[in-house]
């Protein structure tokens, strides 16, 4: 770690502690939803639309109903008549008051709007029987015109929803000062304009989604096990959707095999399982197949961007104007319309831009709904500004390094609580050191020399070097800020810390890990705060019966909101313990010190007591101060005063084979700053995975649909999730600029890698191809696209 500012020195926080989660996961003891079997369970098989847009004319379930093991088949119409729900599936982010939001129910009744939409369900005794019977339900469709792309949606000749007269859902503007924005462009020495496509991506967490709803024998209670990132939100929304009282619903997210945003939703299968289980009195389960997921789990990105920059003669930015058309897919799911807004504030990136304007139009298509995918709006924003900065550098005649240096906020120096034109206040930043270090680690000048050598020699394999300095917005979120954006929930997080009579600490967190290692990191925080061994700390989570309050894990929020809540609850425990010690030792609380888990009295070094001993005294309550409640248990609900803004500089080095158009990522250097680090090992792991997901967008992944809205690559045979062969090992370093948004000075790192990497890679590809006049490359940069760009470039030069 390159330490720009000294991080706090503590026994556990800041150490690369091995994860306590690993033993179970390494031995097959981790229990994912599909691993949990219960007596009497029925398997739910989904009958899904094979058309992207059609009217259902007839459903014949008679063959399926007679098959072995089949208990029932319900069409969408029958499900609707069973009163399984009292409201449509929820959209929690109606971004404008006049947003068009077609009703979305767990199963279609008359018209289907995307491939894979549920039209009927089968209940059967086994996994195979359910799948077999679902195949035998005969559905007849009358096809309707298909809105198969954003271009189709904008053109408006075909309508994604027959009941609505437009494909447009909303228009959302963020133009703080329109006159200043126009003036910035009018007088500018340099202006550039660029259009970028953020292709549709399939999130592809390794564990497919799955649900198991188990009704209690009596009383109407039901437990829903779901592969979800958001058990708390799901519980509230399941109650609101089904009408089952919230007090009767328990949601458990057991081991969850990755999420990346794709498990941040309230899905048709979840509502069907919980309602049918309660109605029928039998456990109901469903496990997604990978190929099914393209129609059953939301997708990400799917935006078309236009960005304009204005700069003075020296390349100093004067204005930034952005418009995006965003593909909502067929329906608004939990936060579908808000995803582009999460990026809206970041289109000026790490730069001082006096004037800014952003508009977004949301459109419906007949494709799988979109929603959060790792970064959710911010990778798109970061990509646009960082690609545009390279284009501007070319226009002005500066290097990619110099254009960035000239425009960094605060001149690249350290700052705190800085207002930016997109109406936000950045908590802290210090951008130049990340660039300096990344250039040093990559040996940037030597790379440029090697690039020139290969060009001069006319070699077939050319080198490209790409830069990106990103900033992102995480730590979601100050509740008031969310209210200002029309979001229907808060952004706080809850923690309870109790010291049990045996001296063990029990920590209840509303954060919901699915691979991030929260149990380890939270134990590190608690061990430091309470001065106890990490082995004495138990972290409980992801079960609404154990952790009733929480807002879950997404938006790189867990540490900077949930972890901070844990830390603050520990401080309250220590404060209460101190009052007990003062009472029992007949000392003034102000004379007590607390260090390493032990209270001592100033001037009486032999008078000490550990907080674990005090826990027993608080439990027996034999000798507490008058009026004090027994037990050492404190809770905190932390609502952050501001977001957190991690940043960093990434350098991608690619080699392009001019004969094939193949792009090989040779080297990748990343210097990131996520504020103070609790566990640097986990931080680096998050960056590794995040970087590869951004690289994958740049080079390989794209959910392809034909003109009829049929997904051409729903399985892992065709959808190119990278393997170990496609990527190199990474060179990482970090700087530490503490956040001012929370007392731990932490930011977030779950999405940072993804937010920085796509732009760095495409900047590298364009850098390699610049001798051919290539200035842009659409993602993914497939060999075909690259080869054609080279061919066309050569032809133009001939």
């Amino acid at each position: 770690m390159t330490t720009v500012e000294d991080p706090p020195k503590t026994p556990f926080v800041g150490q690369p502690m091995k994860r306590r989660e690993d033993a179970a996961l390494l031995t097959g003891e981790g229990k994912y939803v599909d691993d949990i079997q219960v007596a009497g369970q029925l398997w739910m098989g989904m009958v899904r639309s094979t058309f992207a847009h059609a009217r259902i004319s007839a459903i014949d379930a008679s063959t399926a109903e007679d098959m072995e093991g089949v208990v029932a088949v319900y069409t969408g119409v029958q499900l609707a008549a069973m009163e399984l729900w009292i409201a449509p599936l929820p959209c929690a982010w109606p971004v404008t008051d006049d947003m068009v939001n077609p009703e979305h129910y767990p199963a279609a009744t008359d018209e289907v709007h995307h491939l894979g939409e549920i039209v009927a369900v089968v209940l059967a005794e086994t996994r195979y029987q359910a799948a077999d019977a679902a195949e035998m339900v005969d559905v007849e469709y009358d096809p309707l015109p298909v809105v198969a792309s954003i271009d189709d949606a904008v053109a408006g000749e075909k309508l994604a929803h027959s009941g609505h007269d437009t494909n447009k859902s909303y228009h959302w503007p963020l133009i703080p000062d329109p006159d200043a924005l126009d003036a910035a462009f009018e007088g500018a020495a340099h202006t550039i304009e660029a259009d970028f496509v953020q292709q549709r991506l399939i999130p592809a967490a390794m564990e497919p989604r799955g649900v198991l709803a188990v009704p209690a024998p009596h009383g109407g209670d039901v437990t829903l096990y779901s592969a979800t990132q958001v058990p708390h939100i799901l519980k509230v929304m399941a109650a609101a959707t089904t009408g089952i009282p919230e007090s009767k619903i328990r949601v458990v997210a057991p081991s969850v095999g990755g999420g990346f945003g794709a498990k941040l939703n309230v899905n048709p299968d979840e509502i069907l399982a919980i309602s049918l289980a309660q109605k029928l009195g039998r456990p109901i389960r469903w496990t997604e197949t990978r190929s099914e997921a393209a129609g059953s789990t939301h997708q990400g990105r799917a935006q078309q961007q236009k960005i304009e920059l204005a700069a003075d003669a020296d390349g100093k930015l004067l204005g930034c104007r952005v418009h995006i058309d965003a593909d909502m897919g067929a329906y608004m799911m939990l936060i579908t319309p808000g995803v582009p807004l999460l990026g809206s504030f970041l289109y000026t990136g790490v730069y001082a831009v006096p004037a800014f304007g952003f508009t977004c139009d949301g459109y419906f298509t007949n494709l799988t709904p979109t929603d959060a995918y790792r970064g959710a709006g911010r990778p798109e924003a970061s990509y646009a500004i960082e690609r545009a900065m390279d284009i501007l550098a070319n226009e002005v005649g500066l290097s990619p390094v110099e254009i960035r240096r000239r425009n960094y906020l605060a001149g690249g120096d350290h700052f705190e609580n800085l207002d930016v034109p997109s109406t936000l206040t950045f908590d802290s930043g210090h951008y130049a050191p990340t660039l300096d270090r990344a250039l040093e680690m990559s040996d940037y000048d030597a790379l440029k020399d090697e690039q020139q050598r290969r060009r001069d020699a006319g070699e077939q394999k050319q080198l490209g070097i790409g830069l990106c300095t990103y900033v992102e917005i995480c730590g979601l979120a100050p509740s008031r800020a969310l209210g200002g954006l029309n979001y229907s929930a808060g952004g706080w997080e809850h923690a309870t810390v109790r010291l049990l009579p045996t001296g063990k600490a029990e920590v209840v967190t509303g954060s919901t890990p699915h691979g991030q290692g929260h149990e380890t990191s939270w134990a590190q925080i608690v061990s430091d705060k309470l001065g106890i061994d990490p082995a004495d700390v138990e972290v409980l989570h992801s079960d609404t019966a154990i952790s009733p309050l929480g807002l879950d894990t997404y938006g790189s929020r867990s540490l900077s909101v949930g972890g901070v809540a844990v830390s603050m609850a520990c401080e309250k425990v220590v404060e209460k313990a101190k009052l007990i010690v003062a009472h029992q030792m007949e000392a003034n609380p102000d004379d007590l010190t607390f260090e390493g888990g032990t209270f001592s009295v100033a001037g009486s070094p032999d008078k000490t007591v550990t907080i674990q001993e005090i826990a027993f005294g608080a439990f027996t309550a034999h000798d507490l101060p008058d009026g004090m409640e027994p037990n050492l248990q404190e809770q905190v609900t932390f609502d952050p005063p501001n977001f957190a803004f991690p940043f960093g500089t990434h350098v991608a080095v690619v080699e392009i084979d001019e004969g094939t158009g193949g792009v090989q990522l040779l080297d990748y250097i990343a210097v990131d700053d996520c504020g103070n680090q609790v566990n640097p090992m986990i931080v680096e792991g998050q960056l590794h995975g995040g970087i590869v997901q951004g690289v994958a967008q740049a080079l390989w992944e794209c959910a392809s649909y034909d003109d009829e809205g049929i997904c051409l690559n729903p399985s892992f045979l065709d959808y190119l999730v990278p393997s170990a062969v496609e990527v190199p090992s990474f060179k990482l370093d970090s700087t530490v600029t503490p956040s001012t948004s929370n007392p731990l000075g932490v930011k977030g790192v779950g999405e940072a890698g993804t937010i920085g990497s796509a732009a760095a890679v495409i900047n590298a590809v364009c850098d390699a191809l610049s001798p051919y006049g290539v200035t842009d490359m659409e993602m993914p940069a497939t060999p075909q696209r690259v080869w054609r760009a080279i061919r066309d470039g050569k032809a133009a030069q001939a």
């Binding site: 179970a24 599909d34 390794m206 990755g258 990346f260 691979g515 995975g689």
Partner: protein
Amino acid sequence: MEITLTVNGRSYTRDVEPRTLLAHFLRDDLGLTGTNIGCDTSSCGACTIHIDGQSVKSCTALAVQANGRDLTTIEGMAEMPGVGDGELHPMQEAFRECHGLQCGYCTPGMVMAATSFLNENPKPSESEVRIGLEGNLCRCTGYHNIVRAVMTASGQEVSS
């Protein structure tokens, strides 16, 4: 039809539908749920086990094809010969040491594939490790720490 096979040193005789996938047999019939299923096209490798010491994607095989064979799943790794009770297999330990797992879903398959790979190539280069694990997908780690783990398990020095 009836099959008899050995899994993690224990013999099982079961009546199975001929079409039952081995992965589903292990999970649903024997309750060995450590073998995960991440796709339906034999692409991701989460279901990798050993049959007679060789790594096999158990979603690609039928249960009946395992009749008479000797299988090891992730549940059997920590008890492999030469390893004391309760201790992780060196490959599992290397994954823990190197932070080679996050959500853990691909991990059983990765560990099984990597163990089989090292049996064939005990001192691989990093590049050989990457090629050797090409059939196993991970969405969390970016493979960086998985490669380090396999190199560590092979007893070789690794860079950070």
